[in-house]
């Protein structure tokens, strides 16, 4: 974790109270969305791998508060909170986790492959490091087309050990791409600690040999994250220059829903959840400054519960994708000698033992 002395406490004096309350609402929405997602996984409503953003609420909400509509975001597979934070309604996100036609990726992607073109959320990617060159490419296109905006390349701490990351740093700097390399540093890549996996554990320094400026920030402080992201985002856009932000947070649970987290000391986890809970800490801060009271907290909690229940109801009520649409998105440009709806129906019938 970031040492207390390193943390720049943001004063609330210049803050807009409604905005602060909105940050809290968003963080609670993410928190409860992920907790309910975990429940739905256990109920087998959700399949495959499922990685939760628990503990990263301030990291995500702070980032999103700094971004502009013209900006683009590429993330790794721990992506639910980013889509939610960018403003996609919870219903289609939950529906995607349930594998429904109404999901954000039409039920073709799942938990690790969320997408919302309208909001410039350009995908969750499940091959570690794969999204990083893509994000540089998007920034390259912005520059080529002389459009405003920056691109966020979100990744986990362990991604800074893979080759694609370094090639991306080099190309982003060389080609003057406005990229915010956003490293969510929760201290562990699955069960491998940063110290075990990285010869340079100060991840923000990893841009040094590419002449890329890096900073570290407390990812459990929503205002600190927001301010750092605003500053670095504006710099990246203005100077057409990439930057690195190493955002330190605490992962509340195992790597994924099915990870029993045996490699972390239970006392370390208990204390981490107690000391570094971004949602509770922010509530305490707002309470101390009389920006919220108990009645508001209760009303907000009720509203969040209601919204997420609605999302779950929406997902439950939605249909599975149609069998005949199995090949629907295979190609964007029609091409000869490719299977169609009738082939899909025939193949699936055989695979189901219906013929």
């Amino acid at each position: 974790m970031v040492k207390e002395a390193d943390v720049v406490r943001t004063s609330l004096a210049d803050e807009d109270a409604d905005e602060l309350r909105h940050y809290y609402y968003q963080m609670l929405l993410l928190r409860r969305f992920e907790e309910r997602t975990g429940e739905m996984y256990v109920k087998a409503k959700i399949g495959g791998y499922c990685h939760l953003n628990l503990g990263e609420e301030a990291t995500i909400v702070g980032l999103m508060a700094a971004l502009k509509p013209e900006d683009y975001i590429f993330t790794n597979y721990r992506d639910h909170g980013y889509v939610l934070g960018r403003g996609t309604p919870p219903g289609p996100i939950m529906a995607e986790l349930f594998g429904k036609e109404t999901g954000v990726s039409g039920g073709r992607g799942g938990s690790m492959h969320l997408f919302d073109a309208e909001r410039h959320f350009m995908g969750g990617y499940a091959i570690v490091g794969g999204q990083v060159p893509l994000a540089v490419g998007a920034a390259y296109a912005l520059r080529y087309q002389e459009k405003p905006g920056v691109v966020v390349a979100q990744m986990g701490d362990a991604t800074t050990n893979i080759g694609a990351f370094y090639e991306s740093l080099n190309l982003a700097k060389l080609w003057k791409c406005p990229v915010l390399f956003f490293i969510v540093n929760n201290g562990y890549g699955m069960g491998t600690s940063v110290a075990m996996g990285s010869s340079e554990p100060d991840l923000w320094k990893k841009g040094a040999s590419f002449r890329i400026h890096g900073e570290q920030i407390d990812g459990t402080d929503v205002l600190a994250v927001r301010d750092a992201c605003r500053r670095l985002r504006d710099y990246a856009e203005r100077e057409a220059d990439p930057v690195i932000l190493d955002v330190v947070s605490f992962r509340f649970r195992g790597h994924s829903v099915i990870d029993s987290d045996r490699y972390r000391n239970p006392e370390f986890v208990r204390k981490g959840r107690q000391d570094h809970d971004p949602v509770r800490n922010f509530a305490t801060l707002l309470h101390e400054h009389a920006i919220i009271d108990d009645a508001w907290l209760k009303a907000t909690a009720d509203q969040v519960e209601h919204e997420i229940q609605e999302a779950i109801d929406f997902a439950n009520a939605s249909s599975d994708p149609n069998i005949e649409d199995l090949y629907q998105f295979m190609y964007a440009t029609e091409v000869a000698n490719t299977p169609g709806p009738e082939d899909a129906i025939a193949a699936v019938k055989i695979n189901r033992g219906e013929v």
Partner: protein, 325 residues
């Protein structure tokens, strides 16, 4: 129609597409200042400038990924990989990303990307510079894979690939770059992706091939005609989608088939074609399908060993005689 080389057909097409669409750009190692390792991009930097013709560092995974990301925002990058051997360090970006992005995200974004690269061996390039990996990509749903054999098809397919909204692997061949053929001057003719062509009609045996092996098959067909054997040559042109109906129609007519490709024998393109024929034309076959492919070693350097490891006109003739027995 003017007669030009395969290289010239590619070079002309790249220039014409750069001129036609400002979102088209070329990326690759040594394609600009150096003018292309095999001179396919010769003169294009001078004509279109460094924004449109981008020299990259040696970082295939990085710049292929950048091209995919740029394509997602509406650019139409045409990437040159110096030889197909080097694409292995970028295969994650091609297979896990380019091929899946349109499907996996429910059709919300397109990847109009072309990756051009020469495959196969010529000269004594040794084990790591002589391989054929087009079957690795043809295996992958979501990609389109084309492999033209003539200057005409090179031009028509490259133009189709650049104008296509899906990722297309465009497979070239070092040994074909200097071959010549008729190419129309019409700036809008395209060869459709996914459609094979009967390059020569015949009645006794069908030879199925693509890229350089189609050139070999055409020569052999001429020679066999002198011996009284009528060979039909089916040039696949596209490996994915694969035009099975054209293959099957030809085999049903000739009742005999030989498949030739430069890649290794086991699990290669010839295996897929042979399997298709037995599935769909088994009752029409008068003899087992013969396959001609590369000998399965890392390609040796020594001149004789190297030449002997690749399929040739000799091995094709041997297979044709065998299937005619």
């Amino acid at each position: 129609m003017p007669i030009i080389t395969y290289r010239q057909a590619l070079n002309d097409t790249l220039g014409e597409e750069l001129k036609r669409d400002p979102n088209v750009l070329l990326m690759g190692e040594e394609i600009g200042v150096f003018q292309g390792s095999y001179r396919i991009t010769e003169g294009l930097l001078q004509e279109y400038g460094p924004k449109r013709v981008v020299d990259t560092p040696i970082a295939e995974e990085g710049f292929v990924g950048v091209a995919i990301g740029a394509a997602m925002l509406g650019l139409r990058p045409v990437v040159e990989i110096m030889t197909i051997n080097f694409i292995l360090v970028a295969i994650d970006q091609v297979v896990n990303h380019a091929s899946k992005i349109h499907y996996m995200f429910g059709g919300q974004v397109r990847v109009p990307l072309v990756i051009r690269t020469p495959s196969g061996g010529t000269g004594q390039l040794g084990a790591t510079h002589s391989q054929s990996f087009e079957n690795w990509f043809a295996y992958c749903p979501g990609l389109k894979v084309v492999a033209p054999a003539t200057p005409y098809d090179a031009k028509g397919l490259l133009r189709a690939a650049i104008r296509d909204d899906d990722p297309v692997m465009f497979i070239e061949s070092l040994a074909l770059y200097d071959t010549k053929g008729d190419v129309p001057e019409d700036n809008d003719f395209v060869v459709p992706i996914g459609v094979a062509e009967v390059k020569r009609t015949g009645t006794d045996v069908t030879v199925i091939s693509y890229s350089r092996m189609t050139a070999v098959a055409m020569q052999v067909a001429q020679r066999m005609a002198n011996e009284g054997i009528s060979v039909e040559v089916v040039d696949l042109r596209s490996l994915r989608p694969l035009d099975r109906p054209t293959i099957i129609a030809s085999v049903k007519k000739t009742n005999r088939a030989v498949v030739i490709a430069e890649d290794w024998y086991s699990y290669g393109v010839t295996a897929e074609i042979a399997a298709t024929i037995q599935e769909e034309a088994f009752d029409y076959l008068d003899a087992p399908v013969q396959r001609v492919a590369g000998i399965e070693t890392p390609l040796p350097y020594a001149k004789d060993l190297s030449a002997a490891s690749k399929p040739s006109a000799h091995s094709l003739i041997y297979a044709i005689r065998k299937v005619m027995e």
